[in-house]
Symmetry: C2
Subunit: 519 residues, 2 copies
């Protein structure tokens, strides 16, 4: 380990002196406790982290995009320097395989550099210039210039299923820091060691690039106690969260109950409906089943984009189902992220299996060991599906529900679905052209539409929308992946009749940053 | 009257059959009831208006920007055809003078045409194109294209103080319709007749341009009953509101308590702090007092941008205060918009006057008649100001509170202010350069910063930010004025791997609309 793990929170550039234990890292499956023991940040330390963030905000938000980008790039470099530590500890505490941990680390550093490039270039601030017209009748027109400015300190909750890309220095932190907001991270109990390794890397980068203390803190102690205190704290101006619906809605309630309500960006539950039309089956049912099985079982199904709901024409697809059955029965159980997720998976699949009208098409013939989840597929008629609202719920893991009905019944059912991160349609070009209303219905329920593909695999780029109507997220107007994620932590501000020298560089007459502006 | 007033709601293209009275228009001052009596929409009619809006949404949101723009332009033309009716009825029920009503009508039609131009041009959708790269390692890159799409039906509440520009066909309705959202308006009891005149104009325009029924409805019955039912209705996807803090926060609570929470854009209370530095006083205290008095009393002070709080260096500005005193004492009381606003003004000014440490600098020597409000100016030390949170409240009308302290005390007080629509600073260029932290503190509390000018006068343009941190608005990430207002009613949607013909025109490879895109 490059730096020994201490089990203590990061309060700006200091370490916590809290001694109240909040649990060790735990090896999935064996339940073995990993050293060190982690301790909660004390209430005083939470307050101190927030005070440091408040003090850092005016300083940090005034730095140029290029300077903030230097900080983000330094974080990426520091993380690359500890990738072996991450891989070693990550396998122990999350059971994720080495390749996944290396890949996710690469995604994390890639995201940091993507946001760095975005703020180095600078046009993302949406600068708008309206020049004065003193001769305008009946009243003169004033000089008015606007751009996006950061909201203030942001609370970021680490996600159980992405110890890197959606955790300490993941997309929420990277986009908030890029926007100019200090970040206070609440570590997840599933991977406290990875959190500490990455936090050390961020702090080294912050010191090395001369960032104000308080631009970054990482708190242990869990969402219920420390996390709630951070969200309630008047300094906090926005929240980023990836996790369960109950966790996300609890944060929304807390944020709305503040004397000053703040935005919560919670990415919660989605079953990512997949609609398969006859033309897609005609291209080859077995190959489609293989591709679907691959998406369903990727990462033991523990992705928010896992395809948990499939609409299949009622009188077709027998070969698809037969192939899927054989794949699932031969499927290997996989170690899940933690004991709680494993238990939820067992409970939710059991509840689906026991629901009226639901039949179990297949379960893995291989017995799941402790902490493992095995693939499962259930089938229900569209009539029974619509009778049981609980069948819209998520089985977080490698399980799916296949709903059979006519194409017109499927189209009628789509508007009754809850909001989703994604919706996929498998169809021939002719069917797509003939079904614009079906595509439109899917569009109204989701943030990302996929044609002839499965929803797993979330490209980090300018056009990604990893968001969707409630309850997929708390705020369907946003994305948590891709360059648009930065907009979550900003608001527009206008400057009226200011002398050029007193304007931010982005709005000065000579456009010294050379950014694209609306003028 | 071009079309006789019926006193009934507009349920799509039908008129309500409700018979439960919800009040007549009332002439301010005299209390004279104006004909006709207005009747509440029935619960069934509210449901019918929402069902029509839901049915209209997929049709209306699929129309091209050019077609929707034709509808907005037709509304503007229809409103121009009834401007004499508006002026006649508006003077009776709102006591606003003829010139204001003509000006506000022009602003309303101007806004409609501004949004029409925006959606005719089309680039506002923020189209983003990432093309596929099948050869990318380790995994191929998919084709992914995103753009903004409308949220769904929007509830718009009319504002008491803007019977046209923030009411039936005002900025909220115009921006929502421009985005592609059907609109259900809740009329305000202060000007039901103006609402009916404008609603008739909108419905004529909708019919003439072939819009789907349900794209627009206008309901009588008030915010508490009919309005709450609309906000609770599952079809409603966003809310626009301009009014009191209690009204706005009540709508926020309702929206958050839905099984699917929805965004509320409530523009509520702001006292629009004005900071005057010595350099500005040195330019001429009397002229500054005259300009301030003009802003304070414009429209009997009934603007959300009224300057209700002034920070003045403690040992300077005596000539400013003396001149202001003489202007206020000679000031003419003006008829206020309605009896409730008039009573609130009397109550809030009395409460300020009675607060420890507050002295009354001046009140108009001319007695206010029934329904009238007269200018008033109060003075307090910065120490006493900070002791009494109630002094941050709004006196909606031509009254202001002057807070005296040193420049450093003023700077320290700014972060303690609630969120504001605007913040103004009067200073010399040298002072501005010497006080970057004061300007930054003001920026953190407001949506629009004004240099050497007063906040009244809100330009409708690309760079306007008429928004600000809570409680100025419910959602400081937005503006209710200017072209950015359209973003409130949209969310990004991504299309992955779709054949070109199945993509929206904005995202097709050949860019048939010729819009600006990120690619």
């Amino acid at each position: 380990m490059t730096t020994p793990l201490l089990g203590k929170s990061f309060i700006g550039y200091s370490r916590s002196s809290g001694i109240e234990p909040c649990g060790n890292g735990v090896q999935p499956g064996t339940g073995t406790q990993l050293e060190p023991a982690y301790c909660s940040a004390t209430p005083e330390e939470v307050g101190h982290a927030m005070a440091l963030a408040a003090a850092a905000f005016p300083v940090y938000s005034s730095l140029s995009g290029k300077t903030r980008a230097g900080f983000l790039r330094a974080i990426a470099t520091e993380i690359e320097g500890v990738v072996e530590d991450i891989v070693e500890r990550g396998q122990l505490e999350s059971a994720l395989p080495e390749a996944r941990l290396r890949g996710e680390t690469g995604r994390t550093t890639g995201q940091l550099r993507m946001f760095a490039s975005q703020i180095e270039e600078g046009s993302w601030v949406d600068a708008r210039i309206e020049r004065a017209d003193p001769d305008r009748k009946p009243i003169p027109k004033v000089d008015l210039r606007s751009m996006l400015r950061p909201l203030g300190p942001v609370a970021v909750f680490c996600a159980s299923n992405f110890p890197l890309a959606f955790s300490v220095a993941g997309g929420d932190s990277a986009s908030a820091l890029a926007a100019g907001c200090p970040v206070v991270v609440i570590a997840h109990a599933s991977h406290p060691g990875c959190a500490e390794i990455v936090a050390n890397a961020v702090i080294r980068a912050a010191r090395a690039t001369g960032m104000p203390e308080g631009v970054f803190s990482v708190l242990y102690g869990g969402g219920r106690k420390v996390g709630q205190a951070v969200v309630k704290h008047p300094v906090t101006q926005a929240v980023g969260f990836t996790g369960s619906r109950s966790g996300g809605t609890a944060l929304m309630a807390t944020a709305n109950s503040r004397s000053q309500p703040i935005p919560v960006y919670a990415e919660m539950s989605s079953v990512n409906p997949v609609v398969i039309l006859p033309g897609a089956l005609a291209r080859g049912e077995e190959a489609l089943a293989e591709a679907f099985f691959g998406s369903l079982t990727l990462g033991v199904g523990q992705f928010c984009t896992n395809p948990g709901l499939v609409f299949l024409p009622g009188d077709q697809g027998d070969a698809f189902l037969a192939k899927l059955k054989s794949l699932v029965e031969a499927g290997t159980p996989g170690m899940m992220l933690n004991a709680s997720i494993c238990k939820s998976y067992a409970d939710s699949t059991a509840a689906f299996a026991a629901t009226d009208g639901v039949t179990t098409l297949a379960r893995s013939a291989n017995e799941a060991g402790p902490g493992q989840g095995a693939p499962a597929v259930f089938v229900v008629s569209i009539g029974d599906f619509l009778k049981h609202e609980s069948l819209q719920g998520e089985m977080f893991g490698p399980a799916t529900l296949i709903v059979r009905g006519s194409v017109s019944e499927i189209e009628a059912a789509i508007p009754k679905l809850e909001g989703q991160l994604t919706a996929s349609i498998f169809a021939s070009p002719e069917e797509l052209a003939a079904q614009p209303s079906l595509v439109q219905a899917l569009q109204q329920r989701a943030g990302r539409l996929i044609c002839n593909g499965f929803p797993t695999g979330v490209e980090v780029c300018n056009s990604m929308v990893h968001g969707g109507p409630f309850p997929a997220t708390s705020d369907g107007r946003s994305t948590s992946v891709g360059t648009m994620a930065i907009f979550r932590f900003c608001r527009p501000v206008a400057w009226q009749s200011f002398p050029d020298a007193a304007l931010p560089a982005e709005l000065q007459e000579a456009n010294p940053l050379g950014i694209k502006r609306m003028e």
